[in-house]
Symmetry: C4
Subunit: 236 residues, 4 copies
Amino acid sequence: MMLKELREKVYEANMDLPKHGLVVFTWGNASEIDREKGLFVIKPSGVDYDELTPESMVVCDMDGNVVEGDLNPSSDTATHACLYRAWENVGGIVHTHSTVATAWAQAGRSIPCYGTTQADYFYGEVPCMRGLTKEEIEEAYELNTGNVIVEGFEGKDPMAQPGCLVRNHGPFTWGKDAAAAVYHAVVVEEVAKMSRDAELLCVAAGRAIDDAKAPQYLLDKHYMRKHGPNAYYGQK
Amino acid sequence: MMLKELREKVYEANMDLPKHGLVVFTWGNASEIDREKGLFVIKPSGVDYDELTPESMVVCDMDGNVVEGDLNPSSDTATHACLYRAWENVGGIVHTHSTVATAWAQAGRSIPCYGTTQADYFYGEVPCMRGLTKEEIEEAYELNTGNVIVEGFEGKDPMAQPGCLVRNHGPFTWGKDAAAAVYHAVVVEEVAKMSRDAELLCVAAGRAIDDAKAPQYLLDKHYMRKHGPNAYYGQK
Amino acid sequence: MMLKELREKVYEANMDLPKHGLVVFTWGNASEIDREKGLFVIKPSGVDYDELTPESMVVCDMDGNVVEGDLNPSSDTATHACLYRAWENVGGIVHTHSTVATAWAQAGRSIPCYGTTQADYFYGEVPCMRGLTKEEIEEAYELNTGNVIVEGFEGKDPMAQPGCLVRNHGPFTWGKDAAAAVYHAVVVEEVAKMSRDAELLCVAAGRAIDDAKAPQYLLDKHYMRKHGPNAYYGQK
Amino acid sequence: MMLKELREKVYEANMDLPKHGLVVFTWGNASEIDREKGLFVIKPSGVDYDELTPESMVVCDMDGNVVEGDLNPSSDTATHACLYRAWENVGGIVHTHSTVATAWAQAGRSIPCYGTTQADYFYGEVPCMRGLTKEEIEEAYELNTGNVIVEGFEGKDPMAQPGCLVRNHGPFTWGKDAAAAVYHAVVVEEVAKMSRDAELLCVAAGRAIDDAKAPQYLLDKHYMRKHGPNAYYGQK
């Protein structure tokens, strides 16, 4: 069996999704890529989390074709493949329907950066992508979901905003590996809750929600504290 | 004892309701029908979930009369029987007072389809039924609850919208068997949360909630991806 | 040691409060009365739930004086005693600061009856009491909390509305025994959530919250289904 | 190894943060000071909670310099040190990004005192500090976070309002030791939820949120019941 270690990592990343309360039933998937081999491992489609094993993971090439595995890969495989092709620094991808992030996606709204919780991982907002057109959906839905995300990040660094909301759908997040993508999925759900409540508290007090936005110099500081060349958070 | 296997399935479905956080105390019930025998199995009324056993389930005929069982069947038995009589494809039914779905029912509002989480299982909204009249309530409350649901689905396919909200009361869901009805009860509670939050986020940003509605072609795509003759989600 | 069985029941009722998520730290208390002996048993004040035992419960007379027990009784003892003196059908009392019921109390609002979940246990609203005056607070705060509740129920049957909200404070509930009072505390928190969300959904759709009120004949039906002489819910 | 007992206490306080649902991943820290030695013990930076041990805690002097420990101390160490220097009664400090308290901080709003849950621990509001200036952030971010808190409490008793919100960031709480600071962190998150909901219920009913404020004499009574010389809550 190919890519034993990677299967194990992707299996663990998938199992972490329900543990963090991000996934009900089978509504999520995680993948990670082996850049040298040009192959990625992804969850099979519609299989219960307690029936998953490292062996049941599916190996795909960069066009999303199955290379090894008895089961169908996640129905979102073409989206994962598209992002791996477009962004060479991305090593892992996660998709969920986590409750509050999905609510933002349904409202068609980017999550503004109201504070340091978000600024520690996102250099700015969690952007909401434009909706797919009728043609894009009918022609190649999952591939075009990926294309719309890539389009939405033109001129942006996907590693500095490691996630987005697909309109009327839900969040996709990514990172250097599958575990990092899971981490960012947790961040997105958490800031989705905080920012919803921050806005409601502005409304209740008759204030403009825009006044809640964190100033740029605070975002700069927090992001750089963790990610810049002079990062000093954690154990380096 | 009759219908041993069916009793087991209905028992499991009922036990899944508190596991999914849909039921407090005894506020829910699940049933499943054996179409050949014209009998359905349902939870007894007002019995604690940790005292339930497959043997304590009650067997009823299609008029809701007890055929086997020492305990009274759920007080909602006449509603279940009514739906089984009206809809021959329905194999299982669930009723809960799950918190947020019940809030929509209390507000007297259908849950609009704002995204793919709902579109994967509901071809459109989760409809809220009209309130029962004074006469309907006094005459035959539980039976007329069923009648009002059947009336609300005239011209609709109950398998394409496998659930509804009974006004000022709470959700009823159904499916090919009791397990599917439980699944749809989870979906309804989950989309109830997402859609509440999506609307609040529209309000906070000064946008119309109607703008959040998913376009019809997205609903078509998602529903057909799972349910049409060309379905490609999961392992077929 | 006196009232061994009652101590056990009150202990269990107290332990059920954190299990149902109604109490953080020591922010709640339950009591039950032995009407023949004119004594009630109540939780000691400010003791951690995991240090409670049936033996640490405190026995009080109907003026709230300690009859047996090494520890101080709950600081709300005078409120419990006051309600026991005023209402002879009440056998158990619970006070919590459960999150959403407390929010209604802080808003100074009664919980309107928007649906059958509430109507099954409350014949109408969960009423919010008037605030205590400066004099009432300074003179005898806990006793006057009881007096204000009794005043608020003048002309009402406390067994048909087994709970209330004390303004800027939180819910008190009661019933035939401590277990019933706990049950009603759960009901109040649950309907507090449902009704908050029902109102927000009315606001989001531009509807009047009053339109969400359940019609009187539905309330009559549900309450009588469980409580009237012709009750048919559960196993009788 | 120095300060063995204190390391144990700080370790326990840190472990209590995720247990109370206040912390995701590594987003929180607790410390406690030994006033005689002029040293405090704090969590290491960015280490997973399940890898923490009493031995991995870091000992710092009152300028925040590491005195003993192989790991970097929390990135918020300079804030803790600043508060210990300014306030000699404070024995323990906690910082979290707990969801709803952080939402208030993001909205830039103090939590008004709407009820007794807050009044039992805070003599008035949970104040939100002014935002840091660009210069303060760039020059010495964590130290100036402490300075802004100290400035915000000028003329106030930090032991009577044992916590605050740092704008666009999150809550800091304190107390006589680390355990008390954890306790107050729970209180702040709990009243953040209650007060958010109380305000939404005022808005839904068309009332002014200011009307929900608890009267001063109620605040006096509750705070003094637990903290004044005539306190009578708990076992003294």
